[in-house]
């Protein structure tokens, strides 16, 4: 096993590496609500502002005790769908099957993916109301492609803050989130690897994946045991 001194969750071969990757990724995505308008020629600071300003708005909603569970869930769903380019992510996660699947199946998949992603986010967000995200910088990969670096800080904890990176694209004329990484693990990449493997085991049948995603979305909506 890898030597992992004082970073307990980062790598144990028998177990999934990293502490709370998926949940933290989902939180990170949820923590940035409304869209800010910005042109594609804008500097990296626009991407940082986009993430920074929306994090606080999102956390305010998460902490709002006046909202019922349903209200909070619905508000987040609306915010999520406005903030994240779900269609672009969904098409990416299909991998090579995007080109070979019938167009109607792809559209049905995108709808199922949206419900799956939303349900997954909703099943986790309530656990993170005590944590904060602080923007620490950004990297510009191309004129319209940014990675904004943040730290996920848990108050009153001796653990080191976790790194959460947001990938922001501005090529559509406004900033949109296309991926989130927790400790270097990118959520969309992980989803693509899963979906492509699943389709490979099911003769590339996208409808099978749609059925599976729909089932998962229903199960994720149920309370955890």
């Amino acid at each position: 096993m890898a030597n992992r001194e004082h970073c307990p969750n980062r790598n144990h071969p028998m177990h999934p590496p990293s502490s709370m990757p998926r949940r933290a990724l989902l939180l990170a995505t949820l923590s940035a609500p409304a869209l800010l308008m910005a042109g594609p020629a804008a500097a990296a600071n626009v991407a940082e502002s986009f993430v920074d300003e929306n994090i606080h708005k999102g956390l305010d909603i998460l902490r709002d005790k006046k909202l019922s569970i349903t209200q909070r869930r619905d508000q987040f769903e609306t915010l999520l769908l406005g903030l994240v380019d779900v269609r672009r992510i969904g098409l990416f996660t299909l991998g090579q099957y995007r080109r070979t699947a019938p167009p109607e199946d792809v559209e049905a998949f995108l709808n199922a993916f949206k419900n799956y992603a939303t349900a997954a986010y909703q099943s986790y967000f309530a656990r993170y109301t005590d944590q904060t995200l602080k923007v620490t910088g950004s990297t510009q990969r191309s004129p319209t492609d940014y990675i904004v670096q943040t730290l996920l800080i848990e108050p009153n904890s001796s653990q080191q803050p976790s790194e959460v990176d947001f990938r922001v694209r501005t090529d559509t004329g406004k900033p949109v989130l296309v991926d989130v990484a927790y400790q270097g693990i990118w959520l969309s990449l992980e989803e693509r690897d899963q979906f492509v493997a699943f389709l490979g085991q099911n003769n590339g049948n996208v409808r099978t994946l749609i059925a599976h995603l729909s089932e998962l979305a229903v199960n994720l909506g149920k309370p955890t045991q």
């Binding site: 030597n3 992980e190 699943f198």
Partner: protein, 242 residues
């Protein structure tokens, strides 16, 4: 080759040889996972070990050992790994990180009462991980095909070889204890217990929301290892276009 890790790696080689039957699918080859079916079988086996042996003892661990005690065990195990981390820091030319590792070892082994406490973190000398698998990667060695090792889980030939070297360079394995196997097994067991205790909810979440748990783990492992090899640096980060 000493210790429990060596024994497990030997077993894994035998298991892989026994399971490697039939041609790999195009998808498995594309995913650099030619032993996918054997790996999936091994993941199921590990899952049974986890369910029937590890998880119950993790439950007992939570009941019998208070949080402060668990933190002490965690700190102690981390401190034991520091000499190996230091050597790998040096082998990778990471002198600043090597200095940190040495500082942590000195401070926590003395003021921290043998490593049970972590005063180093309190004064800003934070910890990091390093292993010989990462050192090999820094030296340019490719990871090779994906493997799931019995008991040890996700790996690849490079990381598996790294485990052996790390075990060989670990100073505690050089101590001629008469009952060395018990020390080694106990350390591995508590390391497993410590990590499993801290990742219990995470794993549950992944299992609950995964379309394909096996490929999810494979992706998580590879991405995390690449991040560790880069030591978190963003330069050279290879991301696909959307």
């Amino acid at each position: 080759m000493r210790g429990v890790r060596g024994l497990l790696l030997g077993l894994s080689a035998l298991a892989l040889a026994g399971c490697a039957t039939g041609p790999a699918s195009p998808e498995a080859l594309a995913a650099n996972d030619p032993y996918e079916q054997a790996n999936r079988d091994m993941l199921k086996f590990n899952g049974k070990i986890d369910k029937y042996f590890v998880i119950p003892t993790v439950g007992l661990y939570f009941i019998l050992v208070p949080e402060g005690g668990r933190r002490g065990v965690h700190n102690f195990l981390g401190n034991l790994s520091l000499p190996t981390i230091f050597v790998n820091d040096m082998l990778q030319g990471e002198l600043s990180r090597a200095g940190k590792s040495m500082w942590r070892l000195t401070i926590n082994s003395t003021i921290g009462l043998g490593g049970f406490f972590d005063p180093a973190s309190k004064i800003g000398v934070s910890g990091h991980g390093e292993d010989f698998g990462q050192t090999l990667a820094v030296w340019g060695v490719e990871e090779g095909p994906y493997l799931v090792l019995p008991f040890l889980g996700p790996s690849n030939p490079r990381d598996a070889a790294g485990l052996v070297v790390d075990a060989a360079m670990d100073p505690t394995n050089q101590i001629p204890l008469k009952q060395h196997i018990w020390w080694s097994a106990g350390r591995e067991y508590f390391t497993l217990l410590d990590l499993r205790a801290q990742t219990y909810q995470t794993i549950q979440g992944i299992q609950r929301s995964s379309v394909d748990y096996y490929s999810s783990l494979r992706s998580l492992y590879r991405q995390l290892r690449n991040e560790q090899i880069r030591n978190g640096r963003k330069q050279g980060l290879d991301l696909p276009d959307f």
